[in-house]
């Protein structure tokens, strides 16, 4: 099994241009209600729950650019792989400080690893992405390592 070519491995380290987003009280309140949250600091929108940050990663694009299954097209960080079916593999968050209403965060996305394994029903390629959330002055807030699996 050697699905990862030198060209694919050379993509490790590729980073997208950082983007900025504001954590708003109203967005937190909507998220808190929608998730069944019971903690007052989230329901009142003072603080953002950890996984609220997932919403920041969802691109806002015109309806005409959505795929037939409704999704936004995959990130340009996902390489063209010989295995086409992509599955979620989990997330690993390091938390440095809480995110509050009014915070303006900067998110930087990077492909940090590509490796392959033999699964029970065939080969698998693992892609690991780093999503780094910092304040506008570079203070770390949360770093997520997101794994996606191609089979």
């Amino acid at each position: 099994m050697n699905l990862l070519t030198d060209e694919l491995r050379a993509l490790i380290g590729t980073e997208l241009a950082p983007f900025e987003f504001e954590v708003t009280r109203n967005d937190i309140k909507k998220y808190a209600v929608a998730t069944g949250q019971r903690q007052r600091r989230y329901l009142e929108g003072d603080e953002a729950p950890l996984l609220f940050l997932f919403s920041a990663m969802m691109p806002v694009i015109p309806l005409s650019e959505l795929l037939p299954d409704g999704r936004q097209p995959d990130s340009s960080l996902i390489p063209e792989l010989p295995l086409k079916r992509i599955m979620a593999g989990g997330s690993d968050y390091q938390i440095y400080r809480r995110a509050y209403a009014g915070d303006v965060l900067v998110c930087t996305q990077k492909l940090t690893d590509l490796y392959e394994k033999q699964g029970g029903s065939g080969p698998l390629i693992f892609m690991v992405f780093e999503n780094r959330f910092e304040t506008s002055v570079g203070e770390p807030v949360v770093t997520e390592y997101l794994t996606r699996i191609a089979r």
Partner: protein, 133 residues
């Protein structure tokens, strides 16, 4: 140290989660997720082969963080959290959130968490690290 008793093997209070179509709609609107498998039943059944609308994996991760923060009750905070979704979970299913303390050392502890369907199938597993305040 927190005012409540922490010991290895100790269980967190269980919480049951059950998403209906309204909650699933609001969640996907809140995170701006237009994937049809969360709101278009005929598409989900005919094109994706699922019996029902799917509960988002990150929503299940959020539920497990809620369980931890309710247990901490303001006397600590999450310092790390990792989760992975193992099996599909469908709308209308009751997911039982359970957790226990796997290690405890002074002001920090590690917790093992999972969401399990009523038939015993685990949909999501997680590990949380917390620091008491």
């Amino acid at each position: 140290m927190p005012s409540f008793n922490i010991r290895e093997g100790g269980a967190l209070p269980r919480r049951d989660f059950k998403a209906d179509t309204v909650q699933l709609f609001l969640y996907n609107a809140a995170i701006w997720n237009p994937h049809r498998i969360h709101y278009d039943l005929s598409y989900t059944q005919e094109h994706e082969g699922h019996p029902q609308l799917l509960i988002d994996g990150p929503l299940q991760g959020d539920w497990l963080t809620q369980m931890v923060e309710e247990w901490l009750d303001g006397e600590g905070e999450l310092t790390a959290f990792r989760y992975s979704n193992r099996q599909a979970a469908y709308i209308g299913e009751v997911l039982i959130a359970e957790g226990r303390v796997t290690s405890c050392d002074g002001m920090v502890a590690e917790l093992s968490l999972c969401l399990t369907k009523q038939d015993g199938i685990t949909t999501t597993v997680a590990v949380a690290n917390v620091r008491f305040t």
